[in-house]
Structures are given as structure tokens and as C-alpha cells.
Subunit: 167 residues, 2 copies
């Protein structure tokens, strides 16, 4: 958007009020702002992860596995920690296996339980990705420390209202 | 996520601090919270739009066209208002044309300028979609009115820092 354009979300809010949708106008502006902020952050995240051939979803899988004491975790547990559908976990892990970053294993005491285990290559790439994300995005996400805390708290309230456990 | 699980974002924050990434831990928690809140809101939005065979991106195109006085707009203008890449606008409009919700027209005074024009069917579906989104999502986005205002303001600061014009 060029600098002399108006704010399109503010414009949409005006239209909402003009159409008599007053009770929904503020919520529309908030939701649309969140969708836009997500898009802007994702562009920055993908600029870091694309050269490493990772998406944010696959990065999160590697990150969780690298934090676990044994470097492996049942697929079902991954899904519940990542709060995504089992089919999303399966397709992310399948891609990571093809990339050599994860191996699939049967659990020793019950071969029917399928574990995802991070490889040395996986550990190397997740460390590189975390360095990049910390430096390029997380340490300077675009608003100051106080606003970061306020945003996290408000987004937590939104998550909690949808059933997430939020501490 | 089941109710007795811990908050995975809080857990990730603990890991970040434990690894000495203190300067990035709060930003990581904020960005991850925003990605999660976006996912939860998008699920609610898609539950409204899926029965109408619309995505949020295509809904936004129809909404903009329906607000314009003539019901039509140059493709380039759509892209700048929606703050998305021209190829995204093209593919959204192509799909809307196939659905019968939009027609492509050359501008009367310069046939090289391609306009997207909303059809009667497009106007009917965008009205239905807006009713649904207002009632199901925007009027009750999951946090109270004060929090909605605070969130919009903070997300606006984040958008502005990335170069968006924010009023």
C-alpha cells in the first residue's frame, strides 16, 4: 500500500457503521487487523525459514522434538502439543522424513505406537532456524516490550475464550 | 488440547529462557500467540464461509466491490486495497469469475485496464456472508469491547511498524 492511501481497515469500519452494522464494526476491525498482522509476521518468518526449506509448521515440529529429553515423541502427542489436526502432523512429519530431519520409529515396548525422532541434521537445521527467528523476528517483533506483553495477554484472553489452556 | 494439558506457549517460553534466549522469549510467545489466535479465528470464519464456497480472501474481494459506487474496480486497485500480491488478486478473481460472482470487463475509456465487476449473484452471496460473519464472529470475537479496542490498537502499532498506513 502506498503511503498516501487511507487505512483500508479504517475504511471498512466506516462502511460497516454506514451500513448499520455497528455492533459488529469494532470486531470486524479487530479480526481484520489480526489477519493482516499475521500476514506481515508470517512474511518475516518465511523469509528466515524459506532458505532452510522449512515452513513454520515444520519448524514447530522440529522445535518440540529438539526440546524433548529423548528427541522423540508419539505422533499423537505432537498433534496435541501443536494444537493441530492429526492429518496436519502426519503430512508435516512425512515431509520432514523425506528431508532427512526426522525418522519414524515404532516404540520399543509397543511397536504400534509411532514416534517421530529428530535426526542430527534435524537438530542442526532447527538450531539455525531458531537463531534466525530469534534475531530477525522474535527479538524485535515490531512493537516495544510493554506492547508485546499487552498483546500476549490479550491474545491469551482470545485463545482462552476458544477453549485453549492459557497460563 | 485437553483441559489438564499445560499451555504449550507458556512451555515454549520456559524453554526459550532455559536456553538463554531471554531477549527473544517474550517476542516468541507473542508471535506464537498471534499465530494461534489467527488459527482459531480463521476456523470460525471458515465455518461461516465454507457453506457459501468462499474463502476469506475471496470474501474480501466481493466486499470491496460491493462497497464501491459502481460495483467495479481495476484489478490493480483491488490488490493495493487488499494489501496482497497481484497474483493473489488474479487467482481470487479468476475463481470468483468461474463461480459467477464476478465478471471481468475492459474499462470503457481504456480497454487495456481490466476491471473486476460484482454480479447480482455476487451481491447476494456477499450479503449472506456478511450477515453470517457479523453474527457468528465479528459481534462476539471472543473478548470484550474494551479488549477489542486494545487489541486493534496494538495490532495497529504492529502493522504500522511494518509500513502499513494505520489510522
Amino acid at each position: 500500500m502506498s503511503a498516501h492511501e487511507r487505512d483500508p481497515i479504517r475504511e471498512a469500519h466506516r462502511q460497516w457503521v454506514a451500513h448499520g452494522w455497528d455492533d459488529a464494526a469494532d470486531g470486524m476491525a479487530m479480526v481484520t487487523s489480526l489477519v493482516r498482522a499475521h500476514q506481515l509476521l508470517l512474511e518475516r518468518i518465511e523469509a528466515v525459514l524459506r532458505p532452510l526449506d522449512l515452513t513454520f509448521a515444520r519448524y514447530e515440529v522440529l522445535r518440540l522434538l529438539s526440546f524433548s529429553s529423548s528427541g522423540r515423541m508419539p505422533m499423537t502427542r505432537l498433534g496435541s502439543l501443536l494444537q493441530v489436526h492429526p492429518t496436519s502432523v502426519t503430512s508435516a512429519v512425512e515431509r520432514l522424513v523425506r528431508q532427512g530431519f526426522v525418522e519414524r520409529q515404532g516404540r520399543d515396548d509397543d511397536r504400534r505406537v509411532i514416534l517421530a525422532a529428530i535426526t542430527d541434521e534435524g537438530r542442526a537445521v532447527v538450531e539455525k532456524a531458531t537463531d534466525g527467528l530469534n534475531g530477525e523476528v522474535f527479538a524485535a517483533p515490531g512493537v516495544g516490550p510493554g506492547q508485546v506483553a499487552d498483546l500476549t495477554r490479550l491474545l491469551g484472553a482470545l485463545r482462552a475464550s476458544a477453549g485453549d489452556r492459557v497460563e
